[in-house]
Symmetry: C2
Subunit: 397 residues, 2 copies
């Protein structure tokens, strides 16, 4: 039994929150002349305590400025009410704006979605960034797992195998993950429908035929998925072809570089360059602008994600909107469900994307249309069917 329970009325200098010395439950209890159990009950409201007692205790709490210690609560209750969010921070060479542009927009939206859910349930959110070029350190993640009750991890940040190790310790939800992840729950946007709709739009509405694909980095499964779906859509159309592709780093700078590379070859430009994300598309636009290549007249450019700057660049970027904030919200909800019921089997949740038509694809300038895409059913459905359907309805206002 803690020492300061004993003694009559004051085991420690409890006379007024003496600076530096933290006020504990015992201080409150002894000053109010009740047991710690009673104080605890008052603090948590739900239990039956006589009104007069409650009032007295509350008064003392106010007077001493008592705030419960979360560590002690967690230990005693055997739950922490904390989840962790693991994001990636792309570092690499520090070109002027690169740090800001690379991942600055996707996870920030996700974060807000997560936090909103967490907040409204009175839990807490621990956030950690991993540097993309640093080797993944399982022990650091394990240490993190000792601080939380569940983990939200961005796609491609942690290798599958580590993910599995983590997932056997505590509930894990992968955000924007490949639906093929088996160890954990996955909440992700429907990249396939998006990519397919984009392809269909370029092909059917603008009559484009020769495509170039600017891919994401190697370890980015969502980029890979977009590429596959896009390829498939292109191949399924007789006259169309993929005339080339290269790998970027998801950054503006890498998009710019890819643009330069494309121009430097001297080959005729493709009809359209499809980028695995918006940042690279923006970089590409920059490179084209410098070379006085007119977009979309000479070449169309489209991106993926629908980050805010895409609406500002010149021409405004046609892209696929990812429901980033919603992704965060759903992933969080799912995680909390799993924490409450760890026996549930892992699931994949697919959120639908929107086709956002601006003018970089050839649509008339000054308009913006947002076309919700029907979400794919199941995993094996051929995307083309549904997408073609979605597409016929997509039209500039």
């Amino acid at each position: 039994m803690p020492l300061n329970t004993s003694g009559a009325g004051e085991g420690r200098p409890a006379g007024g929150a003496s600076a530096g010395n933290v006020v504990t439950l015992y201080d409150v209890a002894s000053l109010a002349g009740v047991s710690t159990a009673t104080v605890s009950r008052v603090v948590h409201g739900l239990d039956r305590v006589k009104d007069s007692t409650r009032a007295r205790v509350l008064e003392v709490i106010e007077q001493l400025g008592y705030v419960p210690d979360s560590a002690a609560q967690s230990l005693s209750r055997r739950r922490k009410d904390v989840i962790g969010l693991v994001c990636i921070e792309r570092t690499g060479p520090k070109e002027q704006y690169d740090i800001e542009t690379m991942s600055l927009l996707f996870y920030d939206e996700v974060l807000r979605g997560v936090e909103a859910q967490i907040r409204h349930r009175n839990w807490s959110l621990l956030i950690t960034y991993l540097e993309d070029h640093a080797p993944r350190d399982l022990s650091r993640l394990l240490a993190l797992s000792g601080k939380v009750e569940g983990l939200l991890i961005g796609e491609g940040i942690v290798p599958s195998q580590m993910l599995a190790r983590l997932a056997e310790r505590l509930p894990v939800v992968v955000i924007s993950g490949s639906p093929r992840e088996r160890a954990a729950d996955v909440v992700t946007a429907d990249n396939r429908s998006g990519a397919a709709a984009l392809a269909s739009h370029l092909i059917s509405e603008h009559g484009l035929r020769r495509f170039y694909y600017l891919d994401g980095p190697e370890n980015a499964p969502d980029a890979a998925e977009r590429r596959r779906a896009f390829n498939q859509a292109v191949r399924s159309h007789p006259d169309c072809q993929l005339v080339g592709s290269c790998q970027g780093q998801f950054s503006v700078a890498s998009g710019d570089a890819a643009g330069q590379h494309l121009l430097a070859t001297g080959d005729p430009l493709p009809d359209a360059v499809v980028c695995a994300n918006d940042q690279m598309a923006i970089g590409l636009l920059k490179a084209f602008a410098r070379a006085d290549v007119r977009v979309p007249d000479q070449v169309a450019v489209v991106g993926f994600d629908d980050i805010f700057p895409g609406s500002l660049c010149d021409p405004p970027l046609t892209t696929i909107h990812q429901p980033m904030r919603l992704l965060g919200e759903r992933a969080c909800t799912r995680l909390l469900d799993r924490i409450a019921r760890p026996d549930l089997r892992p699931k994949v949740e697919l959120l639908s994307t929107d086709l956002v038509l601006r003018s970089s694809c050839g649509c008339p300038p000054g308009t913006m249309t947002r076309q919700p895409l029907q979400r794919q059913r199941g995993r094996r459905t051929t995307p083309v069917t549904l997408t073609m359907h979605a597409l016929t309805a997509a039209r500039i206002s």
Copy 2:
């Protein structure tokens, strides 16, 4: 003494991390045939333990997948190694992009700065958003204060009085705060020099004389400080005047609205509109573009902060760069210092800003110059002197 210490070799089902039942130090200790003290020492490395013992313990740890429980550690060590970051989330009416644009860029950069410091010291970061229109709830902040050892709070998020209440419980650092805050440490950018340099640039380099100021919301002290410094600089120049001003909400939409308002009056346009942040400047540019008002020919527009989209809009935005990430880093460092030495007196740390010249102010298009500003000394120095000095060196490349 916990029960599972007793018994020979196994107080609990320690035979293999039975799903759901967490492995504790006692499990490791008994399986390795040592005391918990020894295991603890092995885990923390720094103490003298015989090599053979260490090896055996590590093996058991690995085998059982033991991870220390942070709550128990915190309770025992009497420190949590966690700080909290309190940001604001601007909600309000949900125009298309508003949620994303409003506060999406400032705190996200700050967050990265904070996290980088935290991570490299092996602490943890708890993040909380407060909705800007919800009333501030002291009890929620107090509860938060029970989970962390220090708090980083964005400017204007929490009323001064609450801040004082918090600061008497635990170390608090205000980010981007007014240097007048007395209860807590403050780390902030040198808005005065920035605003003054901007004014000087517009006046001396571009010969502008009639200014309109687009202010931030009421409870934003940094906006107020920028306005004051700008006013002062304008007034100190004989021919110049402030021809008007209005209040915005820091959002793109509110900048757009202000632009429409300005045009609707039918009055002649000012020479320049100075905005309290970049988002509003971007909104203003949109409104002007719709009305076919040429920027900067008919009216110059400048912003404040240097968020990424400002470099993309048309024309690219001249602005004052805030070292957002650095702000986060420094605030974090300062907070950790205060946690280590709570006796230190609160200080104000002023970070210098850069004048970023693009073409919305009238500088030739296609160039971008970044002019570091000398940081103001002390608080009472008249800003003009130093600024004029800084200015004379500012020139388009």
